[in-house]
């Protein structure tokens, strides 16, 4: 077995056998799904009980209010506002809705008041506003003489059907799916880099603190050791990711059955229905089939590997430059920043215009390209851009690995004080 393979195998086995790795692998999807389930469950409980609200209407046209799903209305006995307030408090109702009298409907609409002990949630107020707004609108139609039946009959639903010049039909749903796939891919790359890059760094520090490093590098080249470490860790990481995805999907579908999720989210369900109507016969399978799937998968592999190798070699160099984990923060921050930037720029720029100048620039810049380009690719990116971006990534990767290997080679044998950026620079230049 070659030495590189030996190192990869040892790193992989050491990671996978680690107790915290095993616990993390099986516990985090459970925790994630458990949390989500809990949140859904709690919010369901939270809104389940309707609130009792007293109302006092001095406005003749509104004399009774119908209960809604979340509000139970009770007419106040007292006809004077101050008494009604006292009565509401005595009866321990949630609040008092007061509709004043006025000849002008517009003035009525502006002067409605709601009294309560603590400030009510915005959802409740919105519900009341909608409810009263509808009632007042009907009254206003009557006042200005609009025939509601005619109004209803004359409403027109307008849909703009989007298609490319080649005649490929598309829709908002398709765009959403593209954004979803792109963001998922980009986000996955970022998470993977941060989690497993850190793991590479810790493993380098471990070799330094346990003082085994000099023994190892008297047998193998430091570069082989660094590369073996990165590859071994990424294989362990891939294994963990795959297990997470499998467990996650499994648990989600079980939890979904138990909670009967769509029924509890009427709003989303309605939206979904609307979207489905909008798509007018686009079914999900054809949409997915029409995406540049081969392109997405190949690019994902290239950008994922390129991005991870690029960043993890920097992580390895940081690990070599310092003696303990607390000293790493100063050096890790500049790595995290382009990653965060990539995700935020990716979300903002790609969603508004996947082919705009900012999105294109960030999908070329090697430190952000793995994430941003992955977000753009589902929308169809010209081949030359993808290839240029890949080439830039590869070149940067080679350059960074050269620097990182140099810092690594010198750093692993340096003990004592934490080096400054200036010292790192002299390592690269002079040694």
């Amino acid at each position: 077995m070659s030495k590189l393979k030996l190192i990869i195998k040892r790193e992989f086995v050491a990671k996978v056998r680690n107790k915290s790795f095993i616990v993390m692998t099986f516990l985090s999807p459970l925790l994630m799904v458990g949390m989500t389930t809990l949140i859904v469950f709690l919010s369901k409980k939270n809104t389940e009980k309707p609130k009792t609200i007293a109302y006092l209407s001095e406005y003749k046209a509104i004399n009774a209010l119908e209960d809604t799903k979340t509000i139970h209305f009770v007419a106040a006995n007292s006809k004077i506002l101050e008494d009604a307030k006292a009565e509401t408090q005595k009866n321990k109702f949630y609040g008092l809705l007061y509709i004043p009298n006025n000849d002008n409907i517009n003035d009525v609409a502006k002067n409605i008041q709601f009294f309560s002990k603590d400030s009510p949630g915005t959802t409740l107020i919105q519900n009341i506003e909608n409810l009263l707004g509808k009632r007042l609108k009907h009254l206003k139609y009557k006042e200005v003489g609009i025939d509601e039946a005619k109004l209803k009959a004359s409403s027109i639903k307008t849909i703009v059907n989007i298609a490319s010049f080649e005649g490929k039909k598309t829709s908002k749903l398709v765009s959403n799916i593209k954004i979803g796939i792109g963001s998922a891919a980009g986000y996955l790359i970022m998470m993977f880099i941060i989690i497993y890059g850190n793991m590479v760094m810790r493993s380098v520090i471990e070799e330094k603190t346990s003082r085994i490093i000099e023994i190892i590098i008297s047998s193998v080249k430091p570069f082989d050791l660094m590369l073996g470490k990165i590859l071994g860790t990424s294989f362990a990481g891939l294994l963990q990711f795959i297990i997470w995805i499998i467990i996650g999907f499994g648990l989600m579908s079980i939890a979904g059955v138990f909670l009967d999720a769509p029924a509890n989210m009427p709003q989303q369900a309605a939206q979904l229905q609307e979207i489905q109507q909008n798509t007018l016969g686009f079914d999900l399978i054809t949409i997915i089939q029409e995406l540049p799937l081969a392109n997405i998968i190949i690019s994902f592999i290239v950008f994922f590997l390129g991005g991870f190798l690029l960043y993890s070699s920097i992580y390895a160099a940081i690990g070599a430059a310092v003696d303990n984990e607390t000293d790493t923060q100063q050096f890790v921050l500049p790595i995290i920043m382009p990653l965060m930037l990539a995700v935020y720029v990716g979300f903002a720029a790609v969603m508004s215009d996947p082919h705009g100048p900012i999105a294109v620039a960030f999908s070329m810049f090697p430190l952000t390209s793995p994430i941003v380009m992955m977000m753009r690719i589902p929308f169809g990116v010209p081949l030359w851009q993808v290839l240029t971006s890949m080439a830039l990534l590869l070149l940067t990767f080679l350059g960074v690995v050269w620097f990182a290997a140099k810092i690594y080679r010198i750093g692993i044998l340096m003990y004592g004080k934490k080096p400054t950026y200036k010292e790192l620079y002299t390592w690269i230049r002079k040694y």
Binding site: L6, A14, N18, R211, I212, S218, S219, V220, L413, T426
Partner: protein
């Protein structure tokens, strides 16, 4: 003479700092070679160059007649001063891993390790993790991982640190046995008494330069001062006695302690032969002690290093 390792005109600079300045050493086959020098003199730099951990700026290393090759890691065993093992890895697995990195096949490594573990009576540690072992125990494992691939050249940097006297002796005997079985050993330490006991040749490096090297005996001869320590049983008062002798020979006080309360002093006999002195002094009393002061490695070390300042 047949040398296993020749380092010729090695120079190594780190930035503006010169770690080694034109250093050459030759290590005869099947010998123990003491590489000595104060802290920061450049010993570790030289050892790292021999191990191909770093490359020299100029100069060549010849191992067994051929320039040093990357494959030669299999021919060298290195126990660095800063050493350790993976704490959470099992002893046996770790030793196998390190042996395979040195180029051994798994089968050979297993065989060799079994032999060494039995020799050191530590076979029961095979499945323990390093973090469960004491420092001395871990050092034993570390020693085995250095020698398990039977290399031609063994480099030990402070091999006895972390060992109690009993185990230090065990390791010392193992090192000498390895030499007798054909290995050549570079031995770097600050414990001068073990240099006296073990080394056939030494080189002394100070401030990046080699200031002394050769056979230990010959170096000692060149540092000999023809000074003798004398113990005299006499009724004469000491100050008067020394004054009296001083008229014929060069004497000085000695801090030699003998068992009985006896006058002691040192005499320098550069021009005279010992017999002249003995026949003179025997008239003054009973000579109970007469020994040449042979310079210790410690004396040579201190003298050589402070001379060059």
């Amino acid at each position: 003479m047949n040398f296993l390792l020749e380092a010729n005109n090695i120079t190594k600079k780190y930035g503006d700092y010169t770690a080694l300045n034109n250093v050459s050493i030759s290590i005869p086959k099947q010998s123990v070679f003491g590489l000595l020098g104060p802290n920061g003199a450049g010993k570790t730099s030289l050892i790292r160059i021999i191990n191909q951990i770093t490359l020299p700026d100029s100069g060549t290393i010849i191992l067994d007649g051929k320039p040093l090759q990357p494959e030669d890691v299999a021919n060298i065993g290195y126990l660095p001063e800063e050493r350790g093992l993976y704490k959470s890895m099992k002893v046996g697995e770790q030793a196998l891993y390190l042996a395979q990195l040195k180029g051994m096949s798994k089968q050979d490594a297993q065989k060799s390790l079994k032999m060494w573990f039995e020799k050191f009576e530590i076979s029961s540690w095979w499945d323990k993790k390093i973090q469960e072992l004491s420092k001395g125990m871990a050092q034993k494992v570390q020693f085995i991982t250095t020698v398990m691939h039977s290399p031609k050249l063994l480099i030990f940097d402070e091999p006895f640190s972390g060992f109690d006297p009993v185990n230090a002796n065990l390791i010392k005997d193992e090192i000498l046995t390895l030499r007798d079985n054909g290995a050549t050993i570079i031995f770097s330490t600050h414990r001068m008494e073990s240099v006296e006991e073990m080394c056939d040749n030494i080189a002394l490096i100070n401030k990046s330069n080699k200031i002394l090297d050769g056979k230990l005996n010959e170096i000692k001869k060149s540092f000999r001062t023809n000074t003798f320590e004398v113990g005299l049983e006499t009724t004469l008062e000491k100050t008067a006695l020394l004054q009296e002798i001083n008229t014929h020979f060069k004497v000085s006080e000695s801090n030699l302690k003998l068992l009985d309360n006896i006058n002691t002093f040192t005499v320098s006999l550069e021009k005279n032969i010992p017999n002249d002195f003995l026949s003179y002094i025997s008239s003054k009393g009973n000579v109970v002690h007469f020994v040449e002061k042979i310079p210790s490695v410690n004396d040579i070390f201190i003298q050589a290093v402070s001379q060059k300042h």
